[in-house]
């Protein structure tokens, strides 16, 4: 059977060339970065032979170890806090009675997406500096607080999308079958929301792990995270050690994305009606 001729971008002149160009611009630098992480020499541009020595160096570097632990602690706490807040906010906005200030709340949640990051960073620096001098506390709390806040919209969006796509008669059916509000949430709403929550948490985690600007401004001395450590290396002398760290981060996020893809696909298949 002949398919009717429809408009197909793939058949337009120059499509292949443009696609190839975009692909190269986006991925070639990453490929090069990964390749040079295995360079045995010191240089970032001239290949001297294959070696895992930079991975070993990074692994044994105590500064890198500390920065990694710090990054993971901050990202984990920020993920938990921001996801909790995001789920509550999505429920209040999607299931609660309509209330005054709903759009104000929406604007508040999405503040980190609308205000330039550098502005948030500077204002946080000012406020935290003042709090630091008055209280004397200079621990990780500031970074955790800042990360929790700017991760909220990233956790919020998938949860809200999932909630909006959910059939509300399912919750009514639960209530009709003698489930209290809490039981309805626990047995019906939450299990159906779960893929959205998971996606939100992953996005929040990656966003926190990746942040440079706000972290750079808010951190106290000796509070480098992995990204700010790498930035610092650039100011001194960049070695393939940075490539090695970046490659590990890359592998980690790819694994996370692939895992999420499979989790959500399975969930989707289960939830198909």
């Amino acid at each position: 059977m002949a398919k009717p001729k429809t408009f197909d971008t793939r058949r337009q002149a120059g499509f292949t060339a443009i696609a190839a160009f975009c692909f190269i611009v986006l991925y070639l630098p990453i490929v090069l970065m990964v390749i040079f992480s295995f360079n045995s020499g010191l240089a970032l541009t001239s290949w001297e032979g294959f070696s895992l020595s930079w991975y070993v160096t990074a692994w044994h570097n105590e500064v890198v170890q500390a920065a990694t632990i710090r990054s993971v602690i901050i990202a984990t706490v920020a993920t938990v806090v921001s996801t909790l807040v995001a789920v509550l906010a999505a429920l209040v906005m999607g299931r609660g009675k309509p209330f005054r200030g709903r759009s104000a709340m929406f604007a508040l949640i999405n503040q980190p997406l609308m205000v330039p990051e550098i502005v948030t960073a500077v204002s946080l620096l000012v406020v935290f500096a003042w709090v630091k001098t008055t209280t004397g506390y200079s621990g990780l709390g500031y970074l955790i607080l800042a990360h929790s806040a700017f991760c909220i919209p990233f956790a919020f969006m998938p949860v809200r999308a999932r909630l909006q796509g959910m059939d509300q008669t399912l919750e009514q059916a639960a209530a009709d079958l003698y489930a209290s509000s809490w039981q309805t949430f626990r047995r019906v709403t939450f299990p159906l929301l779960w893929p959205g929550v998971l996606a939100g948490a992953m996005l929040a985690f990656v966003t926190s792990l990746d942040d440079v600007v706000i972290t750079e401004f808010v951190k106290s001395a000796g509070q480098d995270t992995l990204p700010t450590y790498m930035l610092g290396q650039m100011r001194r002398n960049l070695t393939p050690e940075t490539n090695a760290i970046a490659t590990v981060l890359l592998v980690f996020s790819v694994v996370l994305v692939v895992a999420f893809f499979f989790v959500s696909r399975e969930n989707h298949a289960k939830a198909q009606l």
Partner: protein, 355 residues
């Protein structure tokens, strides 16, 4: 059993508010198969949702076995719903869906398991117990939704257009199935449909609704044979409306001058006024001699419909009239187009309506 007492439901506020239910009252008995029938948008779902507890009426009361249930949230009302779109929980198996209500009621696990088995057997879905709703056909989902709503043994089961999504053959099967389930369980069914045939075949009693009001409540026979309003007569079955005049002695003068004793409404109608007669097409016969018949008309068109033939006539006052005759090769007929024919019917089968 269940009493709906003068409820009003408004959507929106102030003068722009939409009145979805306007002074609706109905009493439904124990173990009754009661149907709400009316066109789309007349308020059937709103009435059902008011009983289930998802809509709170602005005025009026709803009592179940004498107890006011309006103050109870949905999950405390001994009423279960079969939703229009089934609303099966997609993340649970068939068995988990069916057991959900009992589990929420805190019944012991053994009892839940046993009842689930019973219910699945009742709707012939035992083999599918471990499937997910997405792995079932529409008709199977329908059965699971029924089993789930029946499992907690509610006092009243609400069914919202439950069969509308099924194809004709499956729908006929499910109609019989539903009647069987209702008589086996003895649960009161409140069934919503916009399909008059479905309502007539299944119900003990029917409430015909339009524009937020109940127009008539009665058995299928009462509703069909003695409609109280033009809307009811028109909505249910095919109908001829004939303009006539009612006299003080209870007789009715037809177009053409014949006088008959037709079926009068229960509420007295003022005499010496124009009235409308409702005459069903299948309750009339054509006669060769127009002079002796109650009505007469000119045959305009003959439509063959398999089991029946429809004869379209124009009466002396210009109104259209349809006579339906069952086809029988043993009794062939010879009516010609353009011929003037008599129309005969039992006077008691003609219902007088005001106006």
């Amino acid at each position: 059993m269940i009493e709906v007492d003068r409820i009003h439901v408004r959507f929106g506020e102030g003068p722009g508010a939409f009145i979805a239910l306007n002074d609706v009252s109905v009493t439904i008995g124990e173990s009754e198969f009661f149907t709400l029938l009316g066109p789309s948008g007349c308020g059937k779902t709103t009435l059902l949702r008011s009983i289930a507890g998802f809509i709170h009426p602005n005025e009026g009361a709803i009592r179940l076995a004498g107890q006011d249930i309006l103050s109870l949230p949905p999950f405390k009302r001994p009423v279960n719903t079969v939703f229009q779109n089934y609303a099966l929980f997609p993340h649970m198996t068939v068995a988990e869906n069916v057991g959900f209500g009992l589990e929420m009621l805190g019944r012991p696990r053994a009892e839940v398991t046993r009842t689930v088995e019973e219910m699945l057997a009742l709707v012939k879905m035992t083999a599918m117990a471990n499937r997910r709703p997405s792995e079932l056909s529409g008709g199977q989902q329908q059965r699971v939704a029924l089993a789930r709503a029946l499992a907690p043994k509610p006092k009243v089961l609400l069914l919202d257009e439950s069969l509308s999504a099924l194809d004709l053959k499956l729908r006929k099967e499910m109609q019989i199935e539903l009647k069987r389930l209702q008589s086996e369980t003895g649960i009161t069914f409140i069934f919503v449909t916009h399909d008059q045939e479905e309502a007539l075949t299944m119900s003990d009693r029917i409430a015909v609704m339009s524009a937020g009001k109940i127009r008539q409540i009665g058995t299928p026979r009462e509703i069909y044979d003695h409609p109280r309003e033009r809307f009811v007569a028109d909505f249910i079955g095919d109908t001829n409306f004939v303009q006539a005049k009612l006299f003080a002695d209870g007789t009715v003068e037809l177009p053409g001058g014949a006088r008959i004793r037709a079926s009068l409404p229960k509420d007295a109608v003022p005499a010496n006024r124009a009235v409308t007669l409702v005459i069903r097409p299948e309750q009339t016969v054509l006669e060769q001699a127009p002079e002796q018949a109650q009505l007469s008309g000119v045959l305009e068109n003959v439509v063959y419909c398999g089991t029946d033939t429809h004869y379209h006539l124009t009466l002396t006052d210009g109104a259209r009239f349809v006579v339906r005759r069952q086809n029988n090769p043993a009794r062939p007929v010879t009516f010609e187009k353009g011929q003037r024919l008599g129309i005969g019917f039992d006077p008691q089968a003609a219902q007088v309506l005001e106006g």
